[in-house]
Subunit: 387 residues, 2 copies
């Protein structure tokens, strides 16, 4: 019998909106978005799930959302309960939380043409995104990121995940949202660590792809440290744009093994794990970038001047560039990190290093001794602000 | 700040192969397939998961697979353990089984560029497919279906799922395989119920799309009942082809709410549930088709002659056309089925009915009284072979 050759394409598109005061009834953005969904015979619903770490600063949020829907989006039926989930990495470690979200989908009759609206940091967006992606094989997801990192990186992309028995991001899917709403005012309540944290992802894309963006960040470190919202708005927009461009231009669902946007991430993932997530993702990425830049310099790939500019920007932003866990156990722990990274990505080990500021280059192996020397170097820099 | 408009396409392709004696070292099919995966620097692995209901008839299977890989696919590293899972619907109800598969992915270091090979009926393929799809955000899946239904329908498509707290297919994803291998000889050990079961899916596609295929089935009912392998091979191939064509031609990941291939399925899903899955999927689909055809006839859409040909073919194949659970509780149970179906599909209720043999037509409501009359009609036909 003749072989059947199956072949098809699936198209995705979604907008990333930038706004302020999203749930103010005077802001028509959400209303306009939902007005695209008014087919006859459909009763679409929406279930809102909020990061508690965000909600605690917005005690009126639930009322605001209900008022907004009542006034401006009355054709979408809001589930009566707005669900709060604990924020931060912990929520990705708790399978009961995942189950409770799937239960809520069932309880409130949220179907494939209804919406799940996730409001929160990257961790909550990852958890809710995963629950939405697998319930009924995929409910429409709206992301409302509330941290710098989720507004400029995780929230605008196509991935979600939870941890499985301590293994970071072990379960997940590729599942684009139907829209992302970045509200600048939501960032006001972030502590300095999370305000700064997401900046490392901007430095990451700038370093591998865009010299002038790195120059801009270098010029604006003080404004960023002083929580200048205009500077941050620009940084987030440019970073989000570079991420979405990269996804669309390349291999959105990562069928290959090249992942340039994971520059600095192999050591970062391991460090998050080694510190029980005390070092947060963005902070770990800053250290991971520093480590791989020192490494690139040591193997003669990255000029001294570029290295010192990079470490200087990271330091002035307030990032630590070293953590004692990096050198524990004769570096054996960190060394495992490379293998785990390869395994999670699959296939051949592919690590992005820098050739110069604005230009990355992929390599397929790292030397363990030079990694160890790079760790020692970072320990020596003494850029450790707050152990 | 300017809205970012994200837009991209993801391309999928895979072959459905038809063969006999797949694991015979003289059969080069699998070897040829894996020879496409020989990049330098990759160490790809494969983890095999087998339906116990199939394995019990193939006590030598594990040895055969190990020998085949050793002889012909030595560049792929086979995980030492071949994992057995219980077959049938039960495996989709047990979350511990899902967890154990994800554990195995971790234990054997199966990465995104390695393979999971699922061998079994539709239920096992659904469970394993789901575990593969969400582990590391998607491991390459090879399906080797071992029932008629999985060879001609479920195994060649793009969906997987498990049940969640009794809710059928509540969790799942759209995740195309990288290849499907249909081995005709694997069907020999099926009991008559499962041999027959999958034929209802062929009748389904024939009725909504292809008169001549229905004519062929009508002519060949006796051959099929007598377990003629040549007739079954043709039926499976044509049915698989119509399913894959439909998927590629339309809306592969079902973003819309039209699902013509779910003809006969709204009542079928409910009946499987009402009987605690004692009525199997294919059997329930046969009853669901009968019910919707009687309904279409009662509302004047389907000619008497067509209805009687359809019921006659189903009856001669050995399908029951009625089950007492259909009329229990004043039909209230069955009535809920419509709403659950709408909810699982989402959006507007869309039900495929027949206009004539070979031509379906979608409607957006069904009348509860006429459904009840249709159930009574089926009860009266007395085509109940084996209660
Ligand atoms: N899916 C992806 O592509 C992707 C990419 C990068 C990172 N991530 C994931 O994102 C997570 C990190 O996300 P993150 O950096 O946003 O941190 P986070 O989600 O862990 O949030 C940090 C803390 O900030 C709180 N918070 C959130 N919004 C707040 C606000 N506006 N004001 C005050 N507090 C607020 C949270 O409750 C939490 O306690 C990690 O789990 C990481 O793996 C995912
Ligand atoms: N993913 C999809 O698109 C899709 C489509 C249709 C149906 N399904 C699902 O498929 C499942 C039904 O699949 P099915 O009809 O293949 O039945 P099944 O998987 O339930 O298998 C029926 C029985 O046959 C046994 N078996 C399997 N192969 C055998 C063989 N060669 N010899 C002897 N026994 C064998 C199994 O162990 C089981 O006991 C349902 O869960 C249904 O929801 C999925
Ligand atoms: Zn990151
Ligand atoms: Zn079916």
């Amino acid at each position: 019998m003749q072989t059947i050759q199956q072949r098809f394409k699936v198209e995705y598109n979604y907008a990333v909106f930038f706004t302020e005061n999203l749930f103010d009834t005077k802001n028509p953005l959400l209303q306009d978005f939902f007005n695209e969904y008014t087919e006859q015979g459909f009763q679409r619903k929406a279930l809102v799930i909020v990061d508690e770490g965000f909600a605690q600063y917005h005690s009126d949020l639930s009322n605001q959302i209900h008022s907004y829907f009542a006034a401006s989006v009355s054709h979408i039926q809001l589930a009566p309960e707005i669900i709060n989930v604990p924020g931060g990495e912990a929520c990705k470690n708790d399978p009961a939380l995942f189950d409770s979200l799937v239960e809520a989908v069932d309880t409130y009759g949220i179907d494939r043409h209804s919406f799940i609206i996730a409001i929160g940091g990257g961790a909550v967006l990852d958890l809710v995104g995963y629950a939405a992606a697998v319930s009924h094989r995929g409910i429409k997801l709206i992301r409302i990121p509330t941290t710098v990192l989720s507004q400029n990186d995780s929230g605008v992309g196509v991935k979600n995940s939870i941890n499985f028995r301590g293994k970071k991001n072990f379960l997940g899917t590729f599942a684009p949202p139907v829209a992302v709403f970045n509200d600048l005012t939501f960032l006001r309540t972030l502590d300095d660590r999370d305000w700064r944290g997401g900046v490392s992802e901007a430095i990451k894309v700038a370093l591998i792809k865009d010299t002038s963006f790195f120059d801009w960040i270098e010029t604006n470190t003080t404004a960023i440290v002083n929580r200048d919202e205009k500077a941050m708005a620009y940084l987030i927009h440019r970073c989000a744009e570079m991420h979405t461009d990269h996804i669309a231009g390349g291999d959105p669902f990562e069928f290959g093994s090249s992942r340039p946007l994971d520059f600095g991430h192999w050591a970062a993932h391991k460090l998050e794990f080694l510190t029980g997530f005390q070092v947060r993702h963005g902070e770990a990425v800053a250290i991971g970038i520093a480590l791989d830049c020192v490494y690139a310099n040591k193997i003669g790939q990255l000029a001294d001047e570029d290295l010192s500019r990079i470490l200087d920007v990271l330091g002035r932003l307030g990032f630590d560039l070293f953590h004692p866990k990096l050198s524990e156990n004769d570096k054996i722990n960190l060394r495992n990190g490379l293998n785990e990274f390869r395994e999670h990505l699959g296939g051949r080990l592919t690590i992005m290093l820098l050739e110069k500021i604005g230009k990355g280059i992929e390599v397929h192996e790292l030397d363990a001794d030079i990694i160890a020397q790079s760790v020692d170097y970072l320990e020596g820099t003494k850029i450790i602000h707050a152990l």
